[in-house]
Each structure stands twice: as C-alpha cells, then as structure tokens.
Symmetry: none
Subunit: 123 residues, 2 copies
DNA sequence: CTTTTTTGTTCTCGTTACGCGTACTTTTTA
DNA sequence: TAAAAAGTACGCGTAACGAGAACAAAAAAG
C-alpha cells in the first residue's frame, strides 16, 4: 500500500515539500519519505494530512475514490421513498426499485415492532 | 488521539478480542493494545479493521461521527459508502446507524444469494 | 458447587522502522 | 551565471511496535 495520492494532492495545491512539512510540523525529509513510499506516516500524521489537504484519510489510503461528499436536499438529508428519483447504490451496483421497496418495507416493519415492544413495556 | 470506537464496534458485533485478532491476523495482545490505547496500529492494520468492522478509517479515528456516506457519483447516482456527512430517512425519520448497517448488510446478502442461485443454474 | 474453558489485561524482550539531520542533485528565479 | 529553492537519498539513534507469556476475571460445562 503506497500513498500515491499524497503527491497529487500536494501538486494540485501547488505546494512544495518544504511548505507542507512546515504546515505539518515535521522535517521535509520525513514528509518526502511518505510521498516516496520510503516511510509510512503515523495515524496522527495522516490525520493532519487529511486536514491540510481537505480530504479524508480513506481517500489518502485509497479506500475510496471520492474525495468529497455531495449533500442531497436543502436540509442536508436525503429522503428515501418508493418513488425516489435519484439512484442509490451499494458496492457500486445501483439498487433496483424492488430492492428499495423491500428495504423500506423492512424498516417500517422493524419500527412498528419496536414501537409495539416499547408500548408493552410501559403497561 | 485514542481509538475509543474500536471497542464499541467490536462489542456491537459481539466479537471477542481473540476472534478479532484472528481475523486481522495479529496477536490478541496486539489488538488489545489498540483498544486500550497502549499501542497504535499501523496504517495497514487500521485499514484491515475498517474493513472488518465495515466502516471507515475516518470513523475509527474520530474524524467523522457517522460511519456511512452518501456520495455523488459521476453518473449522477448516489453511492452509500462507509464515511459520512449526510443522512438518509424513511417516512421522514432519519435512519439510525444500525438501520443503515442492516440495510447494507441486507442488500449484500440478497445479492450474494442471487449470485449463488444463478451460478447453480448455469451448471 | 467445582472444574474447565474462554476472555481480557499487562508485562518484558527483541527488533523494526520512524523521524531527523545532513549532504547532494536538480530545478527555478533573478 | 549565480543564488536560492525544491526535491532526493542515506545513516544514525531511539521510540515504540508486535509477539509471547503469565495472570486474573468471567463464562461455560460438568
């Protein structure tokens, strides 16, 4: 596992090794070691880098290909209904309408059961 | 920075230290050290943990409070991934983390079954 | 209740590899 | 063309990682 994305992130911002290592409070050679794959950063270090580069640790590690989240509705939430316009996917495979309806039915049933149980407890 | 969420994640799943360390291919004392804050995991280790617990490195590190994300894809669809900044709701009630996890697990299980069935048919 | 097994905690020890300084090459700027 | 900045590479001292072992506590089995 190398941290190939580090250099790309730094270049995107037009920053030098010296500038980045100053911001991170470490030696230039230390940070350079991360980019070249000669050394691996500590958790603290990679966290600082994610903050400096304004992205996620998962993105730096290559666990995800999307560096930024996109918010849905005005209030920041997404409404999941049986007639959803936008597509939802899991593991890169778009959910079918059938899958969505199954899931919604599942959640509703679960909540009804939980409500019944909690009512029973209060009596 | 301690990794308080590790124990919670493990307990949620009802797993023992031995089981988790076996899955991660490390000594029990090594993983125990991470939970107690006595040792800090390598990047490889924390990546494996995120995978095992089905969440994001950012969540384990406490960089985000929500273990799943809805991300915009290039094709305009939405991808549900392990790190998060928005909420999904059903009938106006925001889905809990548990419900999201059930949802993703449900979809994955369903697809695995379907794949197995279709494989069986082709033989 | 007693025994056995599993689970969790803590310590020591050997070794890895981290982080820095430094020296060097390459590139940019004036 | 000289000087400054940027990038690369290496050696050294040491922090701390990871495994194993030993022990306590809790759970399961008998």
């Amino acid at each position: 596992m190398n941290l190939n994305r580090l250099m790309a992130l730094r270049k995107e911002k037009g920053w030098s090794l010296q500038y980045v290592s100053d911001q991170l409070g470490m030696a230039k050679s230390t940070y350079a070691g991360y980019e070249s794959g000669y050394r691996r950063p500590s958790l603290e270090a990679i966290k600082s880098m994610a903050e400096l580069f304004d992205t996620s640790v998962d993105y730096i590690l290559g666990r995800t290909d999307t560096p930024f989240a996109v918010l849905g509705q005005s209030d920041g939430s997404l409404e999941l209904t049986p007639f959803l316009e936008t597509a939802l996917s899991v593991d890169g495979i778009v959910l079918s309408q059938e899958e969505l309806q199954h899931f919604i039915a599942f959640i509703r049933a679960k909540r009804e059961i939980e409500q019944t149980v909690s009512q029973a407890k209060n009596e």
